[in-house]
Symmetry: C2
Subunit: 692 residues, 2 copies
């Protein structure tokens, strides 16, 4: 894909094929819609050929067999004023694409909003924007002119990701009034206060809700991000602007992690080149490892909160979470909101977690251990056969156990992942966040075990450092190659095929890849793209890489170098995947990397234990205790305890939020309190004067 | 002290010797003061004989040689309206007591406030009170009638402790305007925004600020608390009402800790009676210990947050802390408040902490270790002398090292305490809380070391379980007896003497102890009482007791019984001390036991380590590994790591705040947000209608 010569200044132009000046068109448009009375019909005026009269932000895809009555009801509810319990959003049906086929789903709807609506939505959400004085403050319409970059209609004020997030939030909080079911669909039950969109999603009427890509912006972003090979930082601000804070934090972490690995890689190379056969020299490297993995995680916390402060998500208060679409239970009243919603006793969920899920996970871990033992037995057997009569065939036989084990592990991971998703779904968590945490925990533990159990066994039971080094190198290199292939290039290849077919279909004969598609076709093309399932797998991959480096890299100093190389390609492949392979995801205003921070910290604690043990087992250290193994072990344990204590004290001493950000946050709070106080004293003195 | 037959209904009556009906007097009084213009003079009307015309709450004692000009200025600043930067409090000089002596300080001032002023102060402070629906909400004057127990003038609404806290806060926030020094005292420099009271305190002009006891209330409280020997809970609500949340939490913790020890004591007694010579049976006891000390601390967190919720301190936002009176630095502008105040670079403080204080503490620990080694050497020598020729004199000689060691430890603790206070003062912390944390940490580490180092040495280096048991018992019993004597009975005896002298002086010949003193004498008597220095020493004592029980009690199961007995007497002696020995302290709206929770948790982590080691060292366990000590150690270490991991997971899994309180807190937040949102939508729709 090459860049086009002509650049459209604003993406909205694309939707307005008539050559009307953009500014005045919007002004007229806004005027027409500032009157809530005609808002409903106003929106039905379409510029023809399936192109709506507003900037489309989000697409709703309903099942193709949805009854007309239900659609009409849904649209009118969305268009209704907020005062009447609607969302006041603009919504319009997507017209048929060029060269439309019969099997095309007609029930695609584009959703947009006026600027006023978006701004009031931003206020509802408590979105933080940059104030004139450079600090981040919760946006309010009342003093919108005091925010930086706010110009009149607020055009460049909210990013497209923010607009889409606002619209999604407003759609999510569209609540049933007194309907008992969706008109025309008696099986889709409703009750007052139920989120309509979530119910439609859980019943399969609403197939998907997704935000639209913004071709021009995407082109600029991908150019700055991965189109040129360069030695510079990633355009985190642009990523945040386009994909939201959650994605930007992931890429920020990836970048941070890569840079943090550089010193380790720099030390590792000479180590590897000059000393690598002399593997009892790893004491210094292990000690360095210990300090490194504690310090980088602590510093990342500060780095992450700096980013989150700059992006205004650090002090944003989270809205009350709605129940997940899949959550079920007996109808009752939520004790917090007082709204009707399904309730499910916590005790019952705890029973499911502790009596079913936990034993299941433990059983799987046991199975994985069992498979590992079989692998070691097979390998031992193959080696003994090879040693007895070494022929070409026995040489190949030696590789079979490793290959088999690798395949079995992959299959187990896959099956386990499905089982974990099923179990977590069955645990019936009320909140998406709680569901995610339980799923992450389950998958994490199993993956950790699968990846590292054999290394632990080789290191501490077999105590064979040469084998450990070999296994580590094999695991690291194969997993990297497999990952890059599976994660980016395979989906891309599939997507590219689909894309080309679509382009060919429309512009028969022309094959130019960058050919602009009509909106309707573009939307349908995006609707068919795979859905990006969040940063889970990306973080999991980094987590395992961090494990390889921090746990055992002292016996294989090249690990850090390999991980750095992997991370550099990972940036490109992840960026590519986000821009070209997947549907655009909704932004997620994250303030930190969440449960992953905890996972990485747990790994760094385990790293202290393994590194201390490796140091204790090194011939270099053993030489100091020639007579007594017991003394050696006791000293190792004592030093390990000291290091763990030191690590916790360090975690405690290094503040999570940099000083200057803390000061900024306190100043804002102080100012608002002082203002309140002054107001009160003034009011009181006025009351007194009036009484006189 | 016996209870008097007649009980006055309200303490205020005491201050109004004329038999005017109380209600109408206050009404008239309030009316007179609602006019800010005459407020200053109004207050100078005194009911004669040194008795003020308002309920005195707090006493200010200025140095007896303070110039009249400074006093006049201070009083006028205190009396000035809030609009003019004053505090609008009532203040009056205390008259001479009956039988006044010449050396009596005339500069004692009584401070009080009107009910309106107290209520607006409560609002400023964000005091939480019980709402009509049973939830706790921040008090606001606007909807005062919706708060439970609010009746008209709010008489029984605020407790005396709350009134005193409000007055103290208002006095503390009395700031200099454009004065460069206190009039008449050119050496007491001021700058705009400096807290006047703090500056006067730091310069020694203001000797003390203390709240007054409320005789009747105190009598009722002490009767319910410690006057009757009974098997019931402490009157925590009354304690909180009289002394504030910080004190009540301490007594709540003491009670909780005692009850938590009961199961341990119950298990310990039969153990001690039937099995105690067979000391390798302690494995079960040690395992029980392990679980116990983790669980009780976790449950206390929940218990503490329940109490703090009920008392409204859980969700109260803390005000911005002022610099400590002793804090010094170069005048600059606080980056948070923008006010002028001394600034001291953080880096300089850090250097002092890490380059001076830390090495000093380590040196002291080393010294303490050195003294301990000398003690063991001396004891070994004395024993060897005794064993060589056992006579009566050598028998006595055996005791000398222990006695000497105990005395030296006490002296070292004393000297160290002074040194720690000096160093922490010198570190020049800006905030009182930061000062306290650094002091607590220093004293804690040293005391821990002094108390437990010898036990650790005996247990793990000498591995002599019989000696360990003996030392533990000796340390526990002697420290308890000494503590109770030093802490309560000695100060009481001194106070009693002073008290009697005062009573004798006034009612010559009469010796009735409960004789009512005139206000002036009562105030002077209280001014002479010792100042209660906070809960520091009380918590430290509990911390050490917790250490004895959790670290080593498996070798001396009676420890828990002794601690329970000690705690029961401790409740009485502490209660007695609070009510009769010390000045009333200002209440401290604490939401938890602060840094002590952390200290106790650290102790429980150490307890896991010691108990695992003791189990590993027991003959019972050693019998399982007859051949290899190494196997035994490795297993012990592995199990210990498992237990530590489990402990952290448990800490993570058990929520710190009970579910129902969490729900209540979220509901309040949700309600306030929804109200805001509704208001906005209504306003918006009104604007639209008006535009039409």
């Amino acid at each position: 894909m090459s860049t086009t010569g002509t650049r459209h200044e604003a993406p909205a132009v694309r939707c307005l094929p008539t050559d009307q000046p953009r500014g005045c068109n919007r002004a007229a448009f806004l005027q027409r819609n500032s009157d809530p009375g005609v808002l409903g019909q106003g929106m039905m005026l379409s510029a023809g050929n399936g192109v709506p009269s507003f900037t489309p932000r989000v697409v709703l895809e309903l099942a193709s067999d949805t009854k007309e009555e239900a659609i009409t009801w849904l649209l009118s509810r969305i268009r209704d004023t907020q005062y009447n319990g609607g969302t006041e959003l603009l919504v319009e049906q997507l017209g048929p694409g060029a060269d439309a086929q019969e099997k095309e789903n007609p029930n695609m709807f584009l959703v947009g909003a006026t600027w006023q609506r978006l701004l009031s939505g931003a206020e509802d959400l408590g979105l933080f924007k940059e104030f004139n004085d450079g600090s981040m403050r919760a946006f309010t319409c009342a003093n919108k002119y005091n925010f930086k970059d706010f110009k009149g209609d607020g055009d460049s004020f909210l990013s497209t990701a923010e607009c889409q997030y606002i619209i999604k939030h407003e759609l999510d909080t569209l609540r049933a009034k007194d309907e008992t079911h969706v008109p025309g669909l008696s099986r889709v039950k409703l009750y007052p206060g139920k989120s309509v969109i979530r119910r439609l999603l859980s019943k399969g009427i609403l197939i998907q809700v997704f935000p639209l890509h913004e071709k021009e912006e995407l082109k600029r972003l991908s150019f700055a991000w991965y189109k040129k090979v360069k030695l510079s930082f990633q355009p985190l601000e642009d990523i945040r602007h386009y994909y939201g804070e959650g994605q930007a934090l992931y890429f920020g972490f990836l970048e941070y992690f890569t840079f943090a690995l550089v010193p380790m890689a720099l030390i590792g190379v000479p180590y590897y080149l000059f000393d690598w056969e002399d593997y009892d020299k790893y004491v210094i490297f292990a000690s360095f490892n210990l300090v490194w993995c504690t310090v980088i995680l602590e510093l990342w916390k500060r780095c992450s909160s700096s980013l989150a402060y700059r992006w205004g998500t650090l002090s944003r208060k989270k809205a009350f979470e709605e129940p997940r679409p899949g959550f079920h239970g007996v109808l009752g009243f939520n004790p917090v909101t007082g709204r009707q919603e399904p309730l499910y006793p916590n005790a019952k969920r705890q029973l499911r977690v502790y009596l079913v899920s936990l034993p299941f996970v433990l059983l799987c871990l046991y199975l994985s251990l069992y498979v590992m033992m079989i692998y070691f037995l097979m390998e031992g057997w193959a080696l003994s056969v090879h040693d007895a009569e070494p022929t070409f065939w026995t040489g190949i036989l030696c590789f079979i156990p490793s290959v088999l084990y690798a395949v079995v592990i992959e299959i187990m991971n896959l099956i386990y992942r499905y089982a974990a998703e099923f179990l977590t779904e069955w645990e019936n968590h009320r909140l998406e966040s709680s569901y995610q945490n339980h799923l992450v925990l389950k998958v994490l533990v199993f993956n950790f075990f699968n990846c590292f159990a054999s290394l632990f066994y080789i290191a501490f039971v077999m105590q064979d450092m040469v084998l450990l080094r070999q296994s580590l190198a094999t695991l690291l290199i194969t997993s990297q190659i497999l990952n890059q292939l599976m994660e980016a290039f395979l989906p891309y290849w599939l997507q590219r095929r689909r894309n080309k077919k679509m382009v060919r279909k429309i512009h028969k004969g022309k094959t130019l890849e960058d050919q602009e598609l009509p909106l309707a076709n573009q939307v349908r093309l995006e609707a068919d793209m795979s859905t990006y399932l969040g940063t889970f797998d990306d973080y999991l991959e980094l987590f395992l890489l961090f494990g390889y480096v921090s746990l055992f890299s002292c016996v294989y100093p090249l690990a850090a170098v390999l991980v750095v190389l992997n991370n550099i390609t990972e940036v490109y492949s992840d960026a590519f995947k986000m821009c070209r392979v997947f549907k655009r995801p909704f932004s997620d205003p994250a303030a930190n990397i969440g449960v992953w921070q905890l996972a990485f910290e747990a790994m760094s604690v385990i790293a202290v234990v393994t590194n201390c043990s490796l140091i204790g087992m090194s011939p270099q250290v053993k030489a100091y205790f020639p007579d007594s193994d017991m003394q050696l072990i006791l000293w190792t344990v004592a030093i390990e305890h000291g290091l763990l204590a030191f690590k916790f004290i360090l975690t405690f001493l290094i503040p999570d939020v940099p000083k200057h950000i803390q000061i900024n946050l306190s100043r804002l709070e102080f100012e608002s309190r002082e203002a309140l106080k002054k107001k009160k004293i003034l009011e009181a003195s006025e009351v007194t004067k009036a009484a006189q």
